[in-house]
Symmetry: C2
Amino acid sequence: MPEQLPGHRPTLEAVAERAGVSRATASRVVNGGDGVRAHLVEKVREAVLELGYVPNPAARTLVTRRTGAVAVIIAEPEIRIFSDPFFSRQIRGISKELTAHDTQLVLLLVEDRGDYDRIERYLAGGHVDGALAFSLHTDDPLPAITRRVGMPTVYGGRPGWTAGSGEHGGIAYVDADNRGGAREAVRHLLDRGRRRIAHIAGPLDQTSAVDRLDGYRDVLLDADPALIAEGDFTATGGAEAMAALLERCPDLDAVFAANDLMATGALRVLRERGLAVPADVALVGFDDAELVAETADPPLTTVRQDIEGMGRLMAQLLLRTLNREQGDRAVPASVVTPTALVRRGSS
Amino acid sequence: MPEQLPGHRPTLEAVAERAGVSRATASRVVNGGDGVRAHLVEKVREAVLELGYVPNPAARTLVTRRTGAVAVIIAEPEIRIFSDPFFSRQIRGISKELTAHDTQLVLLLVEDRGDYDRIERYLAGGHVDGALAFSLHTDDPLPAITRRVGMPTVYGGRPGWTAGSGEHGGIAYVDADNRGGAREAVRHLLDRGRRRIAHIAGPLDQTSAVDRLDGYRDVLLDADPALIAEGDFTATGGAEAMAALLERCPDLDAVFAANDLMATGALRVLRERGLAVPADVALVGFDDAELVAETADPPLTTVRQDIEGMGRLMAQLLLRTLNREQGDRAVPASVVTPTALVRRGSS
DNA sequence: CGGGAGGCTGAGAGCGCTCCCGGCGAACGG
DNA sequence: CCGTTCGCCGGGAGCGCTCTCAGCCTCCCG
């Protein structure tokens, strides 16, 4: 590519002049070249290359009312956000899909509740065409905001308050089959002959945690409530929950943890107490988190979900909505992706 | 905030009309209100509120030639990117600082080498005012790109090829005092009476790994080369390196790992071999990674760096550069932040 | 009381692009 | 050979904003 010319960047006007055509024709070529005779297309392309022309996105946005950018809103006040590989992989999937469609990713991190004003102003300002948001908690103000400013939004993870469609059209989301995956995990433990199967749940203000707990209960209809402890999706939380469970039910012979991080915490506590995994206690996690599940000792049996694929799906859903005609108000259907049990040494 | 009005968003023109002033005056008020009489300011502010006016960023950018956005380029093809808490915390710091200055964060993930063309086009397109980039490898094409398109850039971590100032002005970066921190770690092990101190280095195409190795050598001038093994900053890599070290030097009595993730891998191998930490082998890590160093068993002695602060610093440096007058070509000075040894149970 | 200075305001140009629409030439049918 | 259609191109308006500059009005000083 040519060096930046001194002074200002070349404009479409300059390209047109050099190619000996009008600005309109130059614009047509830059945007695909339909309806322009071949030799003119060629001339304009040359001029673009020679001048090192790059379209000015602001000018383009001003008239098309499209920014070619999408906001990714992460409203997780905790450190988890990135350190949980879950988010990183989902973002990676999103990024790939957006990139493939020449769309930019604007990252909006929410630190505290006051930030929501900023988010609202930002979305209302028309900086982006749509938004992707994650794992809402039950009282999250985000849906109200996106609705108010009319911003097309796709959520990652089923939102808390809407089982079906809300009052004003449903909300689009992409989620894994948490409940089904949990069922499979527990059934697997039953198949292994386990009878006192405990569950370390995630924070129950998140639907993924609730769904996994529900899946556990689906299979263990008469489960002893003492066999259920709530964690917070971190290793430390998992360890604490495990300790509490052992206190209450020393006879347990299996644990289904709602994610792999908590499973590793549980693993540590079990080892400390001299309990062998899986001989004394079988353990199953959830997520198949890289650098965690496989490298655990013993490697974790876990429920895999295609996290990166879910990210891609979120982006696809959003982009499809954005590319619909203006009048078309239909909300895209939500998608639930399948899970799969991965058997390793811990069960 | 008022609901989105039917049809189009209100423009500055509409605000001006409603307030009974000219568009110019309305603009002045929206941008701070200097030099406008108080009662007019009041009137315009009211009109803004009543109409729910939000400035159109594209129009503004078109004339000011400022986008109010900064690119964060992450060119780490590995999974590490986010799962290494290092990046997440740095991004968090960056995000905080940018938010405080009303600047947006555009995330650019580089998946493979072909992506660099896309990055170059993006930067050349003037979508952003500046860029922040991370941990360059020695042959990274990024510096050439940012220079070519004249994009102000601050790097996280000292770039590989430029010890001092390059041919055309130096490159601004923010880095921790890796070498000094490493020296302190090794001295600490010496103070504990250790004499056969091994080092698990990071990938030596990254300057942070090189600097930490150099710090190790600064203190152990006559270190046995067999005591040094190269890892890759992951737990698995650390485990492999540890195994290799034990193979070569069964008599080692201490290990300084170039990061905490590798230290945990080493820890696992040591335990497997029946070696007690710190009784048989003392262990020191680097980073003070959350959810890793403190929760390890035993908790890791490690070298803490203020990662989030480094992120903030990167953003500050960049913003300062951007707010300089156009003519001022000076590159901001790079910053090296201090480290501190945190003593825990592993040494 | 006149003149100059200085503070506010408004008119208007213009940022770089897209897209509507009118015109023009070629092609084709009668 | 003329009228009509159709494909292609250029002129020009306009997206919403900022900013310069000229003009006005007030105030102060001589």
